[in-house]
Each structure stands twice: as C-alpha cells, then as structure tokens.
C-alpha cells in the first residue's frame, strides 16, 4: 500500500489558508493544521471582554476553519518565544509594529519542527505572491522558505505555479497543474475558488491577523516601552493594551479607564496589581493606574476618572484611591474639563 503523504498547514482562520488546505486535500494529501498564539492575535479577546460584543457568536476562526475542512488543529502557545521576533526583527517592521517577515519565518520554522517531530512530509501556507507589502512579495517569499529552513518543503498551493517547483512536486506527491497561479492584491480569484468549493462564510480580518498591524495598538505598545525605558512585555501587558481608554498625563504614569461593563469586569481582575480608582458619589468606570503618581498627580488622575463618570458635569466628584498595600483614600475633585486634556495624553 502506498504511504499516505501528510502536510501541516499554517491556519490563520482566514480564507487563504482555508483554500490552500482544500487544494491539497483535493490531491489526496492528509492535512493537519497548526495555529500560533502570539498574544497579539485578533481572535477572541476583545470579544470576550467587551459586553457589547458578547451578543455576537464568539468563535475561534482557526478552529472553525479546521472543522469546515475536517482537519485536526493544533494550537501552539508561542507568547514567550515570540518576544524575540517582535523585539529584534532582522527584517524590520511593516507600517506599524508588525514584524511580518520575521514572523512568517518564525512560524514556518516552528511548523517545520512540528512536521519533523510528527513524521509529516511538507508544510503549506495560504500565501499569495504580491498580496501583502512585506511578507508576501516575490522577493521575500524565498526568504521565508530559506531562512525558516523549510526550503523546498514549503508549498504555497494558491500561487505555486508562479514559484519554482517544490520537493513534493518533484517527488510526485502533488501535481503542479493542480496548484494555482494567483498573484497581487485582488481577492477575486480567492472568492471564485471559495465559491467553487462551496464555502459561503469566512473571516476576513482587515489589515492582518494580529493587533501589531493596528496603528493605535502599536502606538500604545511603543508608549509602554518608552515609559519603562525597556522594550519588554508580558502577556498581561499586551492584553491590557487591548482594553479601555489609555490616558498618559506624564511619562511615569498612565490611566486605563474601562469603557463599559465588560471592560470594567476585566480590569477588576487586575485591581490587586495596580493602584485603582473608583467614583463613589456617581456611577463611573474602574480606573487602573500603571505607574506611581505623586500626591498632586493623584488628584489629577482622580479628576480624569471623574471626567469619565456620570458626574462629569457635577461641581465635585468623590473618588476613592485604592493602593496596592490595601490602603484607601478619598479625594473630592472637580472633573477635569476636556479642554484641559491635551490630545497627546490620549494613547
């Protein structure tokens, strides 16, 4: 009996990887998916946190795609290892803090390790030549194959006919004619192929698969590093950047203001690790303080918290300050007038 050829596919949850897998399944390849969790993924978090999003069905798109395709999915936590990719990208950043090329190289390298450990034969991705400005250009696609070490075991079924033949083609495991020759930014060929396969629903994240392509998020991340004079982070740091309004009145402290009930609930989970403020005389958000303001600055922080409470038009608002050592203090402040909040405070 002929040996079953097996491929591992990078699954982002978007349409391209979904199509790439299906193209390989058509050729009789056994495919399993791998999905990496960097902590910056757009999936899940904010939906889980924000109350107003909780009505929408929450699904993990990578799992959903795997189920549609009938393949197994292995989700891998790379939060710690990913730090080095983000902090020291050899190939630099894209438009924001997204190190897409290094990220792709890293993910394909991890997929290669998984492939070897599990006795699989090659790797597939949904990449398309010319689709993304950084990682999917005709000159950078060989870089991903070479620097990841995957070399000619990396197959891109959606544009494989535009690329040199890979090992699986030469070995006769897959047919080159069964691959596609998509290129450029147009999504039309993918849509047409999706229709052909009967796919009617897929996720289409704008910009990219992670928060690092988001300008506002990247700005907050750089601000975090500047304020600490160190380009480091842990998972809680990067999750908190996704939540609330971030206001920095001074380099050594910022406020994280819950915008609605879901965010307030989420921030409650951090109240032991941060100084936090609550409005006592009016309904208001929970506010975490990242940093250590002095007495004067604490009054300013309380005035900002009051500005986001239902007492924003009142003459004075009572705010309680809860310190990390359990001490509590009450401040009566006038809510800060929005004109006194320079735009550069808003991250």
């Amino acid at each position: 009996m002929e040996r079953q050829i097996k491929a591992v596919a990078l699954i982002s949850g978007g349409l391209d990887s979904m199509l790439a897998v299906r193209v390989m399944q058509e050729q009789g390849i056994h495919v399993e998916g791998i999905n990496f969790f960097t902590g910056f993924c757009v999936e899940g978090h904010t939906h889980a946190i924000r109350k107003r999003d909780q009505k929408k069905p929450k699904r993990n798109n990578a799992l959903w795609v795997a189920e549609m395709l009938g393949i197994k999915l292995h989700i891998i936590d790379i939060v710690d290892e990913y730090k080095d990719v983000l902090l020291h990208p050899k190939h630099g950043y894209g438009a924001n803090m997204n190190p897409c090329l290094d990220c792709k190289i890293f993910m394909v390298k991890k997929a290669l390790e998984w492939m070897e450990k599990n006795g699989f034969d090659f790797i597939i991705t949904g990449e398309v030549v010319g689709q993304r400005p950084m990682s999917q250009r005709s000159d950078t696609m060989p870089v991903v194959a070479n620097q990841s070490g995957a070399m000619d075991r990396l197959v891109r079924p959606l544009c494989g006919r535009n690329l040199p033949a890979t090992l699986p083609e030469r070995e006769g495991w897959i047919r080159r004619e069964g691959l596609y020759d998509f290129s450029g930014r147009s999504r039309k060929p993918q849509m047409a192929l999706a229709r052909q396969y009967g796919f009617t629903d897929w996720a289409s994240p704008a910009g990219g698969c992670c928060f690092l392509t988001d300008e506002a998020y990247s700005h907050k991340l750089v601000d975090l590093w500047q304020s600490r004079s160190s380009r480091d982070y842990d998972l809680d740091d990067i999750l908190l950047l996704k939540v609330g309004r971030h206001v920095r009145p001074a380099p050594h402290f910022k406020l994280i203001v819950g915008r609605e009930e879901g965010e307030n609930n989420f921030l409650e989970g951090y109240r032991k690790e941060f100084i936090h403020l609550r409005c006592e005389s009016h309904l208001g958000p929970l506010v975490l303080i990242d940093g250590d303001p002095n007495v004067e600055e604490m009054r300013l922080a309380a005035a900002i918290a009051a500005r986001y409470s239902q007492g924003r038009m009142a003459d004075s608002v009572e705010v309680s300050v809860h310190y990390r050592d359990g001490r509590e203090e009450r401040l009566t402040v006038a809510p800060l007038d929005p004109t006194q909040m320079p735009p550069e405070w808003m991250l």
């Binding site: 399993e32 999905n35 969790f37 993924c41 999936e43 899940g44 978090h45 939906h47 889980a48 946190i49 909780q54 069905p57 929450k58 699904r59 993990n60 990578a62 799992l63 959903w64 795997a66 189920e67 393949i71 197994k72 999915l73 292995h74 989700i75 891998i76 936590d77 599990n118 999750l239 989970g269």
Partner: protein, 77 residues
C-alpha cells in the same frame, strides 16, 4: 479517574491550549473537567473536541464560571 483543569481568568484561545496540552497527557477514556470564565470556551472547547475526536459529556454554567466535562478520545495524535 477524573482530572480538573483550572483555566479561570484565561481568555480564549488559552483555555483551549491548556486543555489540549492536558489531554495529550491522558489516556483514551480518561475524563477531564475544565473550569473557565471566558464564555468563548462554550464554543471553542466543544469545537476543539469535535475536530480532535474527543467527547463533551456535559457543560455547566454557574454565575461566571463554566465547567466542561470531556472524555478523551482514542485517536489523539
């Protein structure tokens, strides 16, 4: 024998990742109860089980806590 996994306060997909990492250490037929607080698990853990050949035996929700009982399938790879 039944084991318990505490995935409270973790946001998806972390509860799924922790479940997956625990399940590989268990034998077919073993049972695992996952306790979580992210409502996303109500979709994600059953989906992960269906894909990977495990069975969800029961789901309970009390306040913010969700408990999911899983029976490990025979074909974990």
């Amino acid at each position: 024998m039944s084991e318990t996994l505490d995935a409270r306060r973790l946001l998806c997909p972390l509860p799924v990742i922790r479940t997956q990492d625990k399940v590989v250490t268990l034998s077919p037929g073993a049972r695992l109860t996952v306790i979580a607080t992210d409502p996303g698990v109500l979709n994600d853990i059953p989906a992960w089980c269906r894909i990977n050949g495990h069975r969800v035996l029961a789901t309970r929700q009390e306040g913010r806590e969700i408990e999911i009982d899983i029976e490990v399938g025979g074909d974990e790879s």
